[in-house]
Amino acid sequence: MVCEGLESLTDTGISGILSYPNTCFNWFWGLIIAAIFFVIALSLYFRDRDRQVNPDFMSILGVSSLASIMIALAGSLLGLIQKEVFSVILAVGLVFVIIWLIKRN
């Protein structure tokens, strides 16, 4: 697979440059958001463990999912994330939120 070079970049503004990886691989920013999700989840987990509180894993995943959905929404407003990628992020995030709410109730 040959990706287009930088010379094909028409929009040289910030959103144009940031959305350049999407020309080759649609899921670039989706994977970045997945990584952010894991970073937030693990940070919350280790923070709870350091406080010697039993970490509630579903709550951690639920909160991380909400944060990821909001970050993905911001990305979609900037044109970095396409609807197909955002819909998968939304579906995964909502599944975690639903399981979290079921467990809480």
């Binding site: 407003l77 396409q82 609807k83 909502l94 639903i98 709410l101």
Partner: protein, 142 residues
């Protein structure tokens, strides 16, 4: 086994939360003129509108249940009071729970490729929980 009232409350709250998140996302995208909003994805658009209708219908469902309850003359038998309208209300609210579940389960099945067998297994557990919860409600009154 979980209490029927708690199960119903949980599902309504879950439906409300999911609807709120989707409404926030869709509204924010439309207000910022996103060129290809997520509501154009068929399953998300239909889930959003189905949840909207389902939650709006709950008011008429609950008013119907209340009217049934108020119009009934309770039967006093062996020191306890029997309300047949509780059975009808149970059926109405079961429809609410299953309806919300059917809307929400479509998202992982279509978008994430979850096997429908998984959804079948979950709905089996859900229906068993509802039936046993309702039976306990009818038998011991909650």
């Amino acid at each position: 086994m979980v209490d029927f009232r708690e199960l119903l409350t949980s599902f309504v709250i879950i439906g409300l939360c999911v609807f709120s998140i989707m409404a926030f996302v869709i509204t924010t995208q439309s207000q910022n003129n996103v060129s290809d909003p997520v509501v154009n994805v068929e399953v998300i658009g239909s889930a959003y509108s189905s949840l909207n209708e389902s939650l709006r219908d709950q008011q008429s469902n609950s008013e119907s249940a209340l009217e049934l309850f108020q119009s009934e003359n309770p039967l006093v038998v062996f020191g306890s009071i029997i309300f047949y309208s509780v059975i009808s209300s149970g059926k109405l609210f079961t429809g609410t729970i299953v309806g919300i579940f059917n809307i929400l389960i479509k998202l992982p099945i279509v978008l994430l490729g979850v096997d429908p067998a998984v959804a079948s297994a979950i709905i089996l557990i859900l229906i068993a929980t509802i039936v046993i919860g309702l039976w306990r409600l009818y038998k011991v009154g909650g």
